[in-house]
């Protein structure tokens, strides 16, 4: 195997790993705020790793550049979406879950 292939494999696997972490987090975390953390951020990072793998696979032609653009737009839109969800939740008056609640 060439170095490039190893790199691609490594990136894809870590990408999948973080996507799985995001899914697990979605199930395990207690409320909408904490779940948004998991759904938006680990997910973003997983997608970043996978897309980097894709970019390397294309090997430096135009498609690579387009993949990079995809990454840029993900960086812009993902936090915005997460912020919109959380802000809507805050506007609805949903109280964030805290550790104290669990004890009482």
């Amino acid at each position: 195997m060439e170095i490039q292939e190893i790199l691609i494999l490594l990136l894809t696997c870590s990408g999948v790993f973080f996507a799985v972490v995001a899914a697990i987090g979605l199930v395990r975390l207690p409320d909408v705020y904490t779940r948004t953390h998991s759904a938006s951020k680990s997910e973003t990072f997983g997608a970043v790793l996978t897309l980097t793998a894709v970019a390397i696979t294309f090997g430096g032609d135009l498609s690579t550049l387009k993949t990079v653009l995809l990454l840029v737009f993900m960086f812009l839109t993902n936090p915005t979406a997460a912020h919109a969800i959380v802000r809507a939740a805050a506007d609805q008056g949903i109280e964030p879950w805290t550790t104290e609640e669990e004890e009482s």
Partner: protein, 350 residues
Amino acid sequence: MVVGVTDLRLLVPVSESVTLRNTVAYAIRHALERTDETEGAATIHFVYPLSERPTLDPKSEETTVADTLLDRVTVWTEEDIEDDAERVTIDTAVIGTEEYLFSPVDYANALVRYARTHDLDVAVFDPEFSPLGTTPLLPPLEAEVRKAGLDVEEAPVQRERRSPPLVRRGTVTQFLALFGVSYLFYLLLAGSLETYDLVTGAISASVVSVALWQVSLTSPVRPVRAGKQLGRLALYLPYLLWEIVKGSLHIAYVVLHPELPIDPKVVEFDAAVWSSLSITTFANSITLIPGTLTVDVSQRRFTVHALTPTTYEDLLEGSLERAVRFVFYGREATEIPTPRERMNDGDENT
């Protein structure tokens, strides 16, 4: 001097506009007519609301503009009042120096606060009053001020006939910047420099820039400053990526840990960033970094939801905030204290 019921107390917000001279004249005339009738006194306050605080320097460009404009207004009032100076008191002020005014509500709040402090009960608006540049502000602003209990009047001055929006505001550099960026983006997606792509690209870019140059860029482009900011942004991105990697690993650890060691907390703090673009960048960066999530931003007050103690410690240490300031304001702006230090200062003061 005792403030009588018949006294006229006017608040006149000013900004650079073509009808400002006439508005000033109207306010003075109005005051003089009223004092003729009631033999009371009149007070007129001309205030300039600063929209943004773009630099750390208290003598910023906008402050200078504001001072010059208010000086001009003072001269005009002296011309108009002539010998009735004892009946009409004139005052000028710059407001909004300590905050970031963005929406009509912000402006209304600042104006109403000023009016309350100085006991003013009528607001006279210049029909062309538009401190935000291209965005129409006046109708909602008037509504807000009226809701707060002030009488609102629009100065009945001759409005300049509105020229079509395409030539109203915006500069050639602004247009060219948008055209250039759209054209490059088109060619990038097309991936070739053949005649067909060059021509269609030029057409698309023209359509985009003609339609949107008023909307997409609200402030004039300063090529040098924009270039410097882009350069510093290039330095910022690797840093942001590294923070994302660190944060993701941390969150993966927390989520996979059998005991789920989370301790969510909502943190509020005033960020030391001032323009709408830098605030957006900062809010977006906070959300991008795993473990922190911007819930709400109101002016400069950030409400952030943090998942674990480490993440909000990191946030209050302020390295991210410092990095964003570095991108927009250069190196000297990095020496501002961290949010935690500022918070502690606030505690000591109160």
